[in-house]
């Protein structure tokens, strides 16, 4: 019991630190690496919450595939330092203030135990969240969403190939030099 709680607080600390690091990093490659740490820790959190199948999926899809995709694009574009200066006066102060209000409200709303619609159960079956249980739910009750997601993935692959092949000039993108006679 105590070890579980301790592990959770360690994970929470790591998650928040890596998330902040990702958002504040000047170097994009470092931001990607912080993101990978964040996603891997999320996977461990899934394990703690009795979701072993999602742990595996999280590691392969997020910390594996998506990380490689991000790193590839950063390498293509060139992982140079990006400026952190603010083009709008006061954007940072206002943005941080608004986000702090949002976060405070969300934490306040979620941390009260009364908002749960049902009573939490103390324990779950041994095979809760295993591939067999999840697959059964997926192919019995959620066949239609599963198929729709498959079609969505196909469309995304085709779209990514088409957009990635594009080599021409994008008319009008930019600071209004090529944007036609806009006022």
């Amino acid at each position: 019991m105590a070890a579980e709680t301790l592990l959770f607080y360690g994970l929470a600390l790591g998650l928040v630190i890596s998330a902040l690091w990702m958002v504040m990093a000047k170097n994009v490659v470092r931001a990607v690496l912080a993101m990978v740490v964040n996603f891997a820790l999320t996977g461990v959190l899934y394990l703690l919450l009795h979701a072993p199948f999602l742990f595996v999926v999280q590691i392969t899809v997020y910390a594996g595939a998506i990380m490689v995709l991000f790193l590839f694009v950063v390498m293509i574009i060139g992982g140079r330092e990006v400026s952190l200066e603010e083009p709008l006066v006061g954007q940072r102060v206002l943005g941080v203030g608004a986000v702090a209000i949002l976060g405070g409200l969300l934490v306040w709303a979620t941390s009260s135990a009364n908002m749960l619609p049902m009573r939490p159960v103390a324990r779950v079956p041994e095979d809760f969240g295993s591939p067999a249980v999840l697959g059964e739910a997926l192919f019995r009750d959620f066949v239609l969403p599963f198929e729709v997601v498959g079609v969505l993935l196909l469309a995304a692959v085709i779209g990514a190939v088409v957009i990635g092949q594009y080599r021409g000039e994008v008319r009008g993108i930019g600071t209004g030099v090529d944007g036609g006679e806009d006022g």
Binding site: L49, V57, L106, V107, F142
Partner: protein, 100 residues
Amino acid sequence: MVAPNEVMALAAVLFSVGVAGVVLRRNLIVVLMSVELMLNAVNITFVALSRAFGTVEGQVFVFLSLTVAAAEVAIGLALVVAIYRSLGRSDVDDVSVLHG
């Protein structure tokens, strides 16, 4: 077990950090990563409530949303590369065709 409220509060903090990244950063890749962070935070909430109530539907939902996130990353990064190819930069401010 870990109290579901604590996990949800953690997810709320992570979501807020993601919002901060979208609001404050101008690099398109960092903005995309922040969106991923927000999706991830919501997934954590799903898994926490799935464990709390002993129902597996939350985990199924996370599985589906992971797929959608992967599709979103593929399209988003393809767009970033296309914008970079035609402009030589990829900041949020560079994409201003609709700017009146």
